[in-house]
Structures are given as structure tokens and as C-alpha cells.
Symmetry: none
DNA sequence: TATGAATGAGAGTTCATTCAT
DNA sequence: CATGAATGAACTCTCATTCAT
């Protein structure tokens, strides 16, 4: 693995666990055994290092999401697949939600984050609104639904630290994640059922 | 307003907008017009200042939530009231979700946050499980439902920065918040309907 | 002496001997026995420290020059007094010419330096041109004469390091300075004589 | 042009405009489009690069000065020619006076500078003292005269930045330089006249 | 309570320089 | 000759914190 990649890995890990501000370049360098100055050689400064870390994730995430949305099956099937895939992605990339969580709230990298999410979000709303007339506006508007599901999924990871205190098991264990996925899909069904009754199709 | 209170207000504001790490004591002092050293006189150190800020919120929040849960009406009515109240609370205390967002993810004040949320959370699960047998376990377990709703509500605020890019309006305007509340209550109804069909009661 | 003054003294000394860029804040702090951070507390940053050092000199210099120009006597007497006074000032403030030398050439503090010198310069040209019609324009224009004398005086100090190699004595010893002053006053006389022959008065 | 020469040109330019300390090897490399490491390959280190830059100038300058001194004509004619030539040289090599200015004052390359100037200086004093008995010692000693003229000439360039503020024209424009040269030659005449009256010859 | 001055620790960053290729 | 990667040292500057008053 190149030094550049080692730095990215270490930064990813530390930004996720400790936070961007609380992570020092010294720590990153130490964590991956490279010289502190090399970080600036490869990434110019700490901010751009974070951008590089985020870009790597969005690259992967974009492919993952579009892959699960774009396959075969009914909307409902694809939605199930998306929930499963997204949970799996966040589970496999624990730092990602953590970083997003902190940096989105901090408002510092909002532009970059927004930029990456807008196209994914719009793909979702379009698909949903086309399939379900009831989701075109009003209380069940596609945007609201997407925001809600996004919140259900990411909060679980973002607050996993806190959830350890609330639930009695490790919230990111395989079993707990399986439970979470079944719950989310069940909610999805309930909501889609309701949309269909209001006069939609699949 | 006492100097102590002025410091709390300024810290609240700045921790919310800029983040704990990125906020300096000098900025806090400047924002409220007191001497930097006075912050340490009143709060001992920066960490304890954050705790004081959070405590103030949890005090208010506990009363607010228990108030809306404890009043009259059916479970469903009380749940609607809770959603409305919680959204209003977060809207009225914009810094709160922001701070929680960042600090929960950072894992540094997790204990304190967990400590405060556990009783509220348990009150909620107990009520839900008592009212709906279907929520006692499985895919619609009360814990999962609470986590989901919590995520739907708080994420809306936590990501309001990003949502500005996704939606076309200010996500925390009165109108947008009213829309959001109607959406959440509608989802609540759909879910509670589903729980009742599976064999519950109010 | 206050810490602030001690820092100014040390910075003055080191900027003069070593140069602004080559002097570190560590060295300044060590030289006057204060904490490194205190420099930034009192002067905000290294650039402003240099400005403070220069301002101190221009304050003194302004009084000195105007004092010697403003007293009694003919133009010629006052000019002699000015040359003597200026040489004495530069001898007593060895760092000053050194700093000016380097920073003026670097072009970084030119504005500040220019700002301070313009009024002194204009006072000089006005006096000279009024007294000697021949200095109103042409080859003996007052501006040219002032620039020439300024160069003769300051270069002696600015290049004193090099002059040690050229002359066989210490160029800033009392004797050498006395010799220099006599030389400069003699040149002054020769030049003023010439101006008077061309048709001026005293 | 070889890489070595491109580096010398770029270093010359940057040392002159920005100063030795404030110029980085990266800037030099960027300015002439070569790799940073190549600078060390060709010049060993930054100090030696400066020496190479200065050496180049002293080579040219030595020829120029000796050429103008050595030709035909009276002392007075040769002195006029020297002033003209030196002004032209400094005008054509703007970086030179700037570098000398800063580095002489810094005292770091004093030895090298002194070494180069001593022979030129001694040639000058010898010629002057031989021609004018009055310049053998005392107020009009040849050393003092040379230092004065050197100061008049070089200061004009060294402080050209500041002179922009004092005069109302660009001090290094062709016209301004012509004015300056006429002024200097006039002073030269006045001084040589005086020396002759005191009992010398041509 | 309140403050200006002071401090130790450490932040991010930049530098000239080296080295393997 | 030339280069991209790498490094140790040092830089300016900022931080939370302390303390005498």
C-alpha cells in the first residue's frame, strides 16, 4: 500500500473515531508510520485530507446505491434492497457516518456533502413519485419519505455509541444489524402499503 | 443576566454553530463580553462548560417530553403530541441537536448523553409495549420504533444544512416545519394502524 | 522594564543584527527571557512586532530631525547640525539603519517607511529651495541633493560591515565617526558654496 | 539555456525582489520550471546558490568598472564615466543592488562581498590620491569620497521603492536616471573643483 | 467577581535537504 | 541529468489554563 493510501486509511479511522478537529496530523502520521510532513506533501493541508477521505467514500457509496437502485425488480423490491445495501455499507464503513455526522452538523463541508448527495437524492424522489402518485406531494411526499428513511438508517449508526446504553446489546453486531434491517424493511412495507391504498401502483 | 448565564448562552450558540473543538474560549469570552479567565472561574474548564450547556438542555427537554407524554389522551394522541413537541423543542433550540450530533458521534460525552436519555427512552418503550402487544418484540419492537422515530426527527435538524441543498426551501422555516410535523404524524398513524391490526389496543 | 518593552528591545537588536526573516520568535523570547507566546499576546504577530519596532524609531527620529532643523541659525548652520545629529542618531541606534536597509529593499514595509519619511523629506526640500534659488530645479534640485546626502549618511552605516574590510579601523568608533562627520560637513560646504555662486543667499 | 542557468536567473530575480530568506527553493524551482532537487544537484545548497548569483554579478561589475576607469582621459573624465557606467550597471541589474543591500546589512555574505569590493575600492582611492594631493588625507580623504559617492549611487537604487513615494515619478525610468546622472556628475565637478583649488592637479 | 499578563504544550505547516530510481 | 517521494527540524501561531492583583 502506498504512503498516500496509508495516510488516507489512518485519517479515515481517526476522523471517524475522534473527530476532525480533535485529530492531529501528528496522530495520523504516527498511526500509519509516515513522516508528518508527508501528509502535507500528498494532501496540501488537513482540510483537503478530509476532502480526500470523503471523496473516497462518496465514490464507493454512489456506485453502491445506484447499483442497488438500478437492478431488476419492483420498486418495493428495489427499496428493500437499497435499505439492506445502505445498512451494510454503513456497517462496513463505520467511520463514514461518523464523519458525516460531525462535519455536516459543523457546516464546514456541507457544500461538498450536499453536492454529492443531491443527485442520489433526486434519483430516489423521482423513482418514488413516479411509482406512487400519493408520494408526489403532501404528507407522504417523496422528499419527506426519503429524509425520514435516511434519518432512520444513519441515526442508528451515528448514535450507536449512545444506543449501547439504551439497548442491551452491541448495536453494530451482525445480529443487531439483522434485526435492524428487518425492522426497517417492515416499516418500508407498511408505508408502501399505505401509499398503494391511497391509489398508487407498483 | 449574570456573567455565568451570558457565558452559557454564548457557549451554547458557538458550540452549536462551530462545534466544541473549533470553538475557543477566547471566542466565547468575546461573544459575551466577559474576560476569558472568568470562564474558568465559573466553569473550571472547557469540558465542564459543555456539560453545563448540555445539562441546561436536558433539564428543559426532560420536562418537555415527560409533560407531553404524561398528559391526557390515548397513546396515539400522546404520541402525536410528543412528535409535535419534540420538533418544536428542536426548532426552538437549534444548537441542541447540533451539539448532540457532533458530540454523540465523537463519543466524548456519550456517557452523560446516554445517562440523560435512558430514562426517557425507557418510559417510551414501556408505554408503547404496554399499549401494543405487537411492539413487545420482533420487527416492530418498541426499541426499534423509538430509535426510528428519534432518527426521523433529529436527522431533519442535524442535516438541515444539507437539506437546504436538497429541498428548495429553508428546512427550518415555520412552513417547512409544519409540513414535516404533518408528515411525521402521518407516518406515526400508518405505523400505529399497522400495530393495531396485528393485534393491539389503545 | 515591562515585558512588552523587553520584547521590543530584543526584537530590535535581533532584527538589526540577523534580519527579520532570519530571526525567530524563539530567539527573541530567549533573548529577553519571556515566554514565546507572550510575544503574540503583546504584538499579535511577528510583522506587527516589526512595525512596533520601526514606529519606536520613527518617533524618536522625527523629533530629533525636526529639532535640529527647527533651531536657530542660517540654513548652512542648520544643515551642519542636521548632518551631525543624523550621524549621531544612526550611531546611537545601530539597528535602525540595518533594519531599514533590509526591509526597504525587501519592499515589505515600504509603505510604512515611506509614510514616515515623506514629511521629513518635504520639510527639507522646501527649506533648501527657499534658501537657494539654484536648488529649485535642475542638476542641483533640492530632491536630488537630499537623496544624495541621505545616501552618503546612511550607506556609511548600512555598509559598516563591509567598510571594516575597506578601511583599516572600526567604522563606527567615535574617532571614525568624527572623521566622517567632518567629511560630510566639508562636502556640504563645498556644495552650498557652489549653490551660492550660482546666485542664492543664506 | 541550460537548467543551471535557468536556476541562476530565477534565483537572481527572486532573491532581488523577495530577499534571500523569504525566497524558497520551491519558488525558484517553480519560477524556472525545474525540479526542486535539481537546485541542490547543481548548487549543493541555497547558500552556495546565492554565492553563484553574486559571483556572476561581480564578474560583470569588475569588468565594467575597471573598463570605465582604465580608458583614456583625465581623472575627471574617467570619474564621470565611472558614475555613468555604475548607474547604468545598477539600472540594468536591478536585483544586484537589492541583494547587496539586504545581504550586506545581514552580515552573512559580508566576507564575500568585501573580498570582491576591496580591490575595486583600492584602485579608486589610489587613483584619486595620486591625482589630488588634497585627497590623500583629512576631510577630503579619498576613502571618504569614495564611500560618499558609492552611497549616493547605490542608495538611489536601494531605496527606489521608497523614492517612489518621495519623488513624483518612477525613479528608475530612463528620464529619472538621466536626471540623476547629471546631478551626480555635477556634484563630482563641484567636489573636484574644490580639490583642485586646495592645490592638486589633473 | 473580575482581569491583564503570563505560560507550557502543542497545533498545522513549511523548509532545505536527501535519496532511490 | 532529472525527479517524485520522503524526512527532520524548525517555523509561526494558538490553545486552554493559571495567577497575582
Amino acid at each position: 500500500m502506498s504512503a498516500r493510501e496509508k495516510i488516507l486509511e489512518a485519517a479515515d479511522e481517526l476522523f471517524g473515531s475522534t473527530g476532525f478537529d480533535a485529530t492531529t496530523t501528528r496522530e495520523i502520521a504516527a498511526a500509519c508510520g509516515v513522516n508528518k510532513a508527508l501528509i502535507h506533501y500528498h494532501f496540501k493541508n488537513k482540510d483537503l485530507l478530509l476532502e480526500a477521505v470523503l471523496d473516497r467514500y462518496y465514490e464507493k457509496l454512489g456506485q453502491t446505491i445506484l447499483g442497488s437502485l438500478g437492478g431488476e425488480g419492483t420498486i418495493r423490491e428495489r427499496a428493500h434492497r437499497l435499505v439492506d445495501t445502505y445498512v451494510d455499507f454503513l456497517a462496513a464503513n463505520r467511520s463514514f457516518s461518523s464523519i458525516i455526522q460531525k462535519e455536516a452538523a459543523a457546516g464546514r463541508h456541507v457544500d461538498r456533502i450536499g453536492e454529492r448527495m443531491v443527485p442520489l437524492f433526486q434519483t430516489g424522489t423521482t423513482m418514488l413519485a413516479e411509482a406512487y402518485p400519493g408520494a408526489r406531494a403532501g404528507e407522504m411526499a417523496a422528499e419527506q419519505l426519503l429524509v425520514s428513511f435516511y434519518g432512520m438508517v444513519i441515526s442508528y449508526f451515528a448514535y450507536s455509541n449512545v444506543l449501547e446504553h439504551l439497548l442491551d446489546t452491541d448495536p453494530v453486531s451482525d445480529e443487531a444489524l439483522a434485526v435492524r434491517k428487518r425492522h426497517l424493511c417492515r416499516l418500508l412495507d407498511v408505508i408502501l402499503d399505505s401509499l398503494e391504498q391511497d391509489g398508487g401502483s407498483a
